[in-house]
Symmetry: C2
Subunit: 116 residues, 2 copies
């Protein structure tokens, strides 16, 4: 397979599109772009995320080759998460979307109020 | 409120981020950028979407001020969906992410195989 086609229901880009669009994945990406972080640091940075959801998000991103999980043999063991090259390449697309959300939130909330 | 902060759990950008990252919203956006479309046309273009999910997606996008729904008094009545200016402004950010997914799908699938 060369490139995918998001309009083809059988193309796996569909699944990827949903996963990379997930807000938690986006927030992990935006956090890790500055360098590796430990689980507790990520949790503190990403307000409101539960440990369970953060674990699931990191595992999914690891499976997709976006994030690496590195265990350092210390006492207690230190675990660090970092972006792969692939993960880093997704940072710019994703931050463009996040910036759009931040810049247009007022207009979206206004639209919602008009409806209700 | 000026601009939002996606890292703030109380900021509504969070909800918006999830909604605009949703694959069906992305596919509707990418479809409507060429001009207004009827429900049946959208359904045909977006392979694999059920009528129920497409209806929900369009309604949510209408509420967020991204899409307009216009009913023409014909027999049978014609209903057309179109992007608003806000919706059009989201097209570029979203297509950057979709393009990334299409271009990197092979690498992601390879990463997934290595894990399992």
């Amino acid at each position: 397979m060369g490139t995918g086609d998001v309009f083809d229901p059988n193309c796996p880009t569909r699944v990827v599109l949903d996963r990379i669009g997930d807000k938690w994945s986006v927030l992990v990406l935006l956090s890790l772009v500055h360098g590796p972080m430990r689980f507790t640091q990520l949790r503190a940075r990403i307000g409101g995320v539960t440990p369970k959801v953060l674990t699931q998000t990191l595992r999914a991103m690891e499976q997709d080759g976006l994030v690496t999980r590195k265990v350092f043999a210390e006492v207690p063991p230190r675990v660090e998460y970092a972006l792969t090259d692939l993960g880093r390449s997704l940072h710019e697309p994703v931050s463009v979307v996040a910036r759009w959300a931040e810049q247009n939130i007022t207009e979206i909330l206004r639209a919602r109020e008009e409806v209700s």
